[in-house]
């Protein structure tokens, strides 16, 4: 099955929001209580393990210097899960390649997790978010070029089996590349890449990798997914390619609509708690100059416009989030219909990435929401929507 349970592993015991100016980069870690933190790690691991029990795939990611996500090294959490879980697939989405200085090390980490899990690993590659160029001391210029060079080096490391090769590229140098272990899956684990624009999606389609977009709503998602399908078609690949597409949304299934919406109310902490000042949101070169200029304009008190794709921030209300396709919440039938409507509007996709825990949504409500999804929503999605069926096969 190809629905993935995702949690950011947040630390939500925070002071009043007005008492700090950024939840990322500069928030002093004195606020973090390692005793509470230990409980949270174990709780989140339990939730991922519960996903394994009920047959819901797992997704993990990493972020740095932030209370929104306490996984600064995603291979660590994925390695624990590779051992603790038995059945489901584990997706890392993803490794922030433009921020990693040694792509060969990433290739090694992923190969090791793939072997421990006996081939249950899906490997995602992402550029890295703007806030983290400071945390990783990564130059925000040319991040896409670094991502792609790192990707090529990792693919070569995974698929070279006859002894060492050398790499002297624009961004990375490595001698005697010859990784042990090599991946369990042949020729390599499935690859995912997050995408933010139609040309970017087309590039991933040509490579036949999975492409994911996060909280992009109806209109922007359709543009990006259409870009993927165009790239897929132009490359001469069979079918539409839609089964390779993934969409991440806040998802909560209740017994009633009111219970589902109350779950979304908790999950939207994920959006609402993201207080970050412009200097961390907009490092030079991360966004095209026009978009970066627009953020500067806002910082200097000017009127900010929308970006080229018409992207807008997620709405603040549960109703707005659901209306615009950022969240799916309600009773099982309602959630099915919301997802189906989204699916039909964006032209189909194969993977649903379920942001199923955030903020103050406690363990009990988290796992109940997961179980209701698996029991009452997923079977209908798989039976009634082609691309989900195709991805599941």
């Amino acid at each position: 099955m190809q629905a993935w349970y995702f949690s950011e592993g947040a630390y939500h015991y925070l002071p009043e929001e007005s008492s700090y100016n950024s939840i990322r980069v500069s928030l002093p870690n004195a606020i973090y209580d390692p005793v509470k933190g230990a409980d949270l790690y174990h709780r989140y691991l339990d939730e991922w393990c519960y996903a394994d029990e009920i047959g819901l795939n797992i997704m993990t990611n990493e972020h740095h210097q932030t209370a929104t996500n306490l996984i600064p090294a995603v291979p660590l959490i994925a390695a624990i899960l590779a051992r603790e879980t038995k059945k489901v697939r584990i997706l890392i989405l993803g490794n922030p390649l433009a921020n990693r200085r040694q792509p060969v090390r990433v290739a090694e980490e992923m190969a090791m997790i793939d072997v421990i899990s006996r081939g249950r690993l899906d490997v995602g590659f992402v550029r890295g978010v703007p806030f983290e160029v400071s945390a990783m001391n990564s130059n925000p210029m040319r991040m896409s070029q670094r991502l792609w060079e790192a990707y090529e080096l990792i693919m070569k490391a995974w698929t070279t089996h006859d002894g060492p090769f050398s790499w002297e590229g624009q961004f990375f140098h490595h001698r005697q590349v010859n990784i042990w272990p090599r991946p369990y899956q042949q020729p390599h684990p499935p690859v995912w890449i997050t995408v933010g624009s139609p040309p970017n999606a087309a590039q991933v389609a040509r490579l036949k990798h999975n492409a994911a977009t996060f909280l992009s709503g109806y209109n922007v998602t359709k543009l990006i997914f259409d870009g993927y399908r165009k790239g897929w078609r132009e490359a001469g690949h069979p079918g539409s390619g839609s089964h390779k597409l993934a969409y991440a949304a806040l998802v909560y299934v209740g017994d009633t609509d009111a219970e589902g919406e109350a779950g979304i109310q908790e999950l939207k902490w994920y959006n609402d708690s993201n207080k970050v000042p412009p200097q961390f949101r907009n490092p030079p070169g991360y966004f095209p100059a026009e978009a970066a200029g627009n953020v500067l304009k806002g910082a200097f008190g000017g009127q900010v416009g929308v970006d080229g794709l018409g992207r807008t921030p997620p709405p603040k209300t549960v109703e707005g989030l659901i209306q615009q396709g950022f969240a799916f919440g309600g009773n099982p039938d309602t959630v099915f219909k919301q997802i189906k409507k989204f699916y039909d509007t964006v032209g189909g996709f194969g993977h649903l990435l379920i942001m199923g825990q955030a903020g103050h949504l406690d363990h009990e409500r988290t796992v109940k929401g997961m179980k209701r999804f698996v029991d009452h929503v997923w079977p209908r999605l798989k039976d009634e929507l082609n691309e989900f069926r195709q991805a599941a096969e």
Binding site: S26, N139, R142, Q279, F300
Partner: protein, 260 residues
């Protein structure tokens, strides 16, 4: 210098295209702008052009000059402008650099002063002075843009109000920030080797500094000057990071008495 069909206003040297303003007449002066981009249109430039043949390039990667794929190091700019002096057979050139441009000027001068008659560094960055947990240069990318803007000026009534800039001007600002970042992200706005190479500068050097510079202090400027044989340091009172803008008359007086 061959103009190209696609970008008729750009100079081209060894395949690198960049904006190059030339004005005035007299002894040649290469003017290297700082992090805010081209200063070719600034009033003090017209004054300099009364006495000098000005060569004012826009650094590749900053607004107005495309970033070549292979440019990622301060040396790329230093060699580009040494090549520019060679290409035009310029002699006895005064190389003056502001802030980031001062770093380029110093990197040029440690390589060769064959064509350089004088060096003027104005609130320049480029060297490391303090210990490893003490920044010499404020991390402007960790500050709210408005706060960073205030630090540039001593007289806070001079801080420009950017809220009414056009979209194109904000895009240009973003491009200039990209330019600084390409060459100066890490190590941050300095070359760890440069301080130990400054002894190689054979040309007379003037180091001009705003005494109240809050981005990079006047003491840093004094240290910079002390590492260059025979260099003269002048501090301008009541002045922040941009003496050429904030104390234009004093700035021009020092330049004129040094470079003619």
């Amino acid at each position: 210098m061959n103009a190209t069909a696609t970008a008729p206003d750009l100079a081209e040297l060894n395949g690198v295209k960049f904006a190059l303003e030339r004005m005035g007449g007299g002894k040649p002066m290469l003017v290297l702008h700082g992090g805010s981009g081209s200063v070719a249109k600034a009033p003090f430039m017209a004054k300099l052009a009364e006495r000098h043949a000005i060569w004012a390039p826009t650094h590749p990667g900053f607004h107005g000059s495309p970033l070549p794929e292979h440019f990622d190091h301060i040396d790329d700019l230093a060699f580009l402008y040494l090549d520019l002096l060679d290409a035009h057979g310029l002699q006895d050139v005064t190389v003056m650099g502001f802030s980031f441009g001062g770093w380029i000027a110093a990197e040029m001068a440690v390589k060769t002063t064959a064509r350089i008659g004088r060096v003027i560094l104005v609130d320049a960055v480029g060297i490391k002075v303090s210990d490893r947990t003490t920044r010499d240069i404020v991390d402007i990318f960790a500050l709210h843009p408005m706060e960073a803007n205030k630090l540039v000026w001593h007289d806070q009534t001079r801080v420009p109000d950017f809220s009414k800039l056009s979209d194109a001007e904000f895009t240009a600002m973003a491009k200039n920030r990209e330019g600084i970042t390409v060459y100066g992200w890490e190590p941050y706005l300095h070359d760890p080797k440069l301080a130990r190479r400054l002894h190689r500068i054979k040309a007379p050097t003037l180091v001009i500094w705003g005494e109240n510079d809050r981005l990079v202090s006047a003491d840093y400027g004094r240290k910079y000057a002390s590492l260059i044989p025979g260099a003269k340091f002048v501090g301008i009172p009541q002045c922040g990071h941009l003496p050429q803008m904030e104390q234009t008359d004093a700035f021009l007086k020092h330049v004129t008495s040094f470079a003619g």
